[in-house]
């Protein structure tokens, strides 16, 4: 009964989504408060219903209800509980249900927390949001129904793809979807603004927290996915320019551009048309990502749903929303009033530069990802666009972004002083030069340009705090004054600095892990040792260990440095019984910010076992940087100023009366 209740809840949610996409929109056109007032309760009910459906499906997984086709295909009674739960979204149907759940969650959040929004904007936004959920609910129910039943039910399921039986899978998709789907809010706001024909600074302020939230989740989601691929796929790389990874990187790039152009719009009412376009494109790229992954046009680990009918359905949804919104944009955008002017050297100017480079980088990734697909569709020729293409396009485009990034916060709005900004960067520049010299002088090996890269990364990290230093005047004025100023700084200033510094941290990790990585591939017998990067790895023995749904052979390896045992690594091979899949389970030892990565090849007949061991200095920084970025985003989000209309705490000092403007 629970499964069928969930099924009905999903169907009822579709019915409410249809009402919600029509009634409030009509109300907004007719200036009818009653109809507009339907948007919020409908959005909340829709969320409750989809949540019931999701809970029902989870219940079916947890209790191993093999009367559901979806459970048969992706679960197994012997699977550990956590993977029974994460298995809910470890497959096509379930992950789409999660997608819809997050979509309606955002709708409900706008309904609950958007009390300060103008009624009409809110009604329009929620209507557009409901149109998206209508399309996806229909898609789920018609082509990918997770509640399809099987009678008679088999006694055992086929188990989840062992690659996906990993804690990483439990968190990666939800985070990524929170990001992808979060951008639907920006999209809905943009479409609503186009329908209303009114875009202003206030709009930018309302849309920014949602974009920021989506951006934070997407940042974490991408980093999580990268880390998962790093330790689970057994190759030891952190980014493969795989089309699925690119699909998540594109919305991140355009979303980052959107965040920055929204700031310009909020402060200066400029870049309106551009910001709206970015909002539309960012969600379009998110939909494209969904299409690429879900349609099975790509053959990779992610394409666990290979079904052309579904692909066509997503393509139709994609065309409908992207085409529709761009058509609306073409009609309405010329009528939007342009905002203030500014000089090239100004905060706005720097942000425009950021936007140009980020969108160019996004375009490079777009071409590199879609050109092979288009070529194959048109001529049947299969080519692959690999890392060399991206290294030659994406890298050089992002370089100026990293260089200019620290300067922008130092420039004033409207008209900036380049010289003053440059003075603020002296410390950062000094650190960068010293670091480059030190690395070049003391670190052996690696490409010639690597020390410069380290310098650039440090320049970005230190430079990110130049603006804060400029405000605090640390060491320039008494420490107490500086601290008081620090308390007075809005949290968003700290947030921005942290997010920028996070970029530098990630860059530092990328450079360290690619320039100074070392690797050994050998086959040795128990008792023998291998050497890498000053560590000695002694292969003690092989051991058989069985898990709940797999059998594994574990190699026990002692890691020694200077003759002393520091830790052990235990790479393994697992045979998952239900799917008869043989997987390598890598083992990682972390030393500070660097990692030793060991994976095991198949046992050879001559008694030796093959190992692949890599040492990657600073590799942890790659993901740490992403966490710092997301933390920065979170701090900005926590800034009270983004919550206009929310009741303020009494402790906030009122501004001196003489500074109140005349109205």
């Amino acid at each position: 009964m629970i499964a069928e209740t969930g099924h009905y809840a999903l169907v009822l949610a579709l019915a409410l989504a249809i009402l919600q996409s029509v009634l409030p929109m009509w109300g907004a056109r007719a200036r009818d408060a009653a109809l507009m007032g339907l948007a919020s309760p409908l959005a909340v009910s829709q969320f409750v219903l989809v949540a019931i459906a999701f809970a029902a499906l989870t219940h079916a997984y947890v209790t191993s209800d093999f009367s559901l086709l979806n459970v048969i295909e992706n679960s197994h009674s012997a699977k550990p509980l956590i993977y029974k739960i994460s298995g809910v979204w470890g497959n096509h149907e379930g992950s789409l249900l999660l997608w819809v759940l997050i979509l309606v969650l955002f709708g409900a959040l706008v309904a609950v927390f958007g009390r300060n929004l103008p009624d009409r904007l809110k009604a329009d936004v929620l209507s557009v949001q409901a149109m998206i959920s209508t399309a996806f609910l229909a898609f789920v129910l018609i082509t990918s129904n997770p509640f399809a039943r099987v009678s008679p039910a088999p006694l055992e399921g086929q188990d989840l793809n062992p690659l996906l039986q990993d804690p990483g899978l439990a968190i990666h998709p939800p985070l990524l979807y929170l990001g992808y789907v979060g951008f639907s809010m920006a999209f809905s706001f943009a479409v609503a603004a186009l329908i209303e024909g009114k875009v202003d600074a206030a709009w930018a302020r309302w849309v920014r927290p949602w974009t920021l939230m989506a951006w934070c989740f997407l940042t974490l989601g991408i980093a999580m996915g990268s880390y998962w691929a790093y330790y689970e796929l057994g190759w030891g790389g952190f980014w493969f320019w795989d089309p699925v990874e690119n699909a998540s990187l594109m919305p991140w790039l355009s979303g980052t551009a959107l965040l920055h152009s929204a700031v310009v719009m909020e402060k200066r009412e400029a870049l309106k048309v551009w910001t709206i376009l970015l909002a539309l494109l960012t969600f379009a790229l998110s939909l494209l990502g969904t299409f690429l992954v879900r349609s099975g046009v790509l053959t990779s680990v992610h394409a666990f749903a290979v079904d052309p009918a579904r692909g066509v359905a997503i393509l139709i949804i994609l065309t409908l929303f992207v085409g529709g919104s761009l058509a609306l944009y073409a009609i309405r955008a010329p009528a939007l009033k342009q905002g203030g002017l500014f000089a090239p050297v100004s905060r706005e100017g720097a942000l425009v530069l950021n936007n140009i480079f980020l969108t160019a980088a996004c375009a490079a990734v777009f071409i590199g990802t879609l050109y092979p697909l288009a070529l194959e569709a048109a001529t049947g020729e299969k080519i692959s666009v690999g890392p060399p293409f991206f290294n030659m396009t994406f890298g050089p485009i992002m370089l100026p972004v990293m260089l200019v990034m620290p300067f922008a916060p130092l420039l004033a709005w409207k008209r900036g002083d380049a010289l003053r900004a440059a003075q603020g960067m002296i410390t950062a520049l000094g650190v960068a030069i010293v670091a480059t010299a030190l690395v070049a002088g003391f670190v052996r090996g690696g490409p010639t340009l690597a020390p410069v890269g380290v310098g650039l990364a440090l320049f970005t990290i230190v430079g990110a705090f130049a603006e804060i230093q400029g405000r605090l005047k640390l060491f320039g004025i008494p420490l107490g004054d500086s601290l008081r100023r620090a308390r007075g700084l809005p949290t968003s200033a700290w947030g921005g600095a942290l997010a920028h510094a996070g970029m530098g941290v990630t860059l530092l990790g990328v450079i360290g892990a690619t320039a100074w990585a070392s690797e050994t591939v050998t086959a040795i017998r128990p008792g023998e040792t291998m050497k890498i990067a000053g560590y000695e790895l002694a292969f003690r023995d092989l051991e058989k260990r069985d898990g709940p749904n797999y059998r594994s052979t574990v190699a026990m390896i002692d890691v020694r440095k200077d003759g002393e045992s520091v830790t052990t690594v235990e790479p393994a091979r697992r045979l998952y019984l239900a799917r008869k899949m043989d997987l390598s389970e890598s083992s990682i030892a972390t030393f500070g910010l660097s990692q030793l990565y060991a994976s095991m090849a198949e046992e050879r007949t001559d008694g030796a076992t093959g190992f692949r061991v890599t040492y990657k200095p600073l590799v942890v920084l790659i993901w740490l940087g992403a966490i710092v970025m997301a933390l920065g985003g979170g701090l900005s989000l926590a800034d009270r100023r983004l919550r206009v209309g929310a009741p303020r705490k009494a402790s906030v000092r009122a501004a001196p009366p003489q500074l109140q403007p005349a109205e």
């Binding site: 069928e4 019915a15 249809i18 009634l23 009653a34 093999f66 300060n116 109140q660 109205e663």
Partner: protein
Amino acid sequence: MTALWVTVAIMTGAAVFVVLGALARRHGAERAAAADVAVYRDQLDEISRDRARGLIDEREAEAARAEVARRLLAASEAADAEGVSSAGADRRRRVAAIAALVGAPLIALGSYAALGRPEMPDLPLAGRLDSQPQNPQVADLVERVEAALAKNPDDAQGWTVIAPVYLATGRAADAAEAYRNIIRISGNTPERMADYGEALFAAADGVVTADARAAFEASVNSDKPAIKGAIYLARAAQQDGDPKRALERLRPILQTAPADAPYLNAVRRELERVASVPPLPMPTVRPEDRQKTPEERMAMIRTMVDGLGDRLKANGGDLGEWLRLASARAALGDAAAAKAALSGAREKFGEDGRAKARIDALGLGLGLEGRGA
């Protein structure tokens, strides 16, 4: 099932109530632009705060204030100009109410009727194992035996108990492992080798692999050859595309078996498999045929088989069709006609060794020729 419909009714009712409730609520003349004004006031406050803390200088603050003030003024004017229309409000409310009362339940129940399976209860695994009394015993037994074997892997008795259970529950690889252990501990007998081969065969999804074949060979090369081994070796020959050798394996078993041997049927089925008779093409069932009685249908099939026989007599046909004719005649209980079909096939294809083996195999398998015929 009743509980489900009650839940469905409650959910639908709640959804309708949400809409109707929201429609009934009184809406004051809210002014949308007031929200804009709030944002700009907040921006002004922010400028003042920044100025008070010395984050920006007076000139910058003044310029920023002027800009925001202009926006504030515009928004205030818009707020004054804006009103809420009440024209046609009642009609709109009626439409919305009908959409909620009729439209939504119609869409939901209609889609559910098409997609849902309201009659199907949940089937959580735990509940199902409870309701099938022998199953938990089996699961329990397997668990206990496995635990015992983990402690004492040399317990042949344990492996002997668990091996067939593994095979029956689809854990063929485990079954093979179990038989391997039995042989390791208690030595090999033809039966054990045959069982081991059978498990390997099942683990390979019904292919006689080299390992399995070796096991079967060992099971028949003794003074007391295992029948099972021979049957599987016939299958191996058949999978190699050699019906002659398959027939050679099976014929002696059939000829020496006592009349009530339990494996006779298995051997006969294997022989029919060796003959690889193509299935009888089923006639398309027209709607009017559905009304027919079983007798009328039998008559239809008879006519069809007769038609096939006539056609083959007139202009030959291929071996598959002849075998099909013989097997259909036998199925219809007409042994003489079936035998006639077999000799017809022999006349035409008897020269070809493979074909002859298939014909002989079918004759034996159907029990028309050889022993007892």
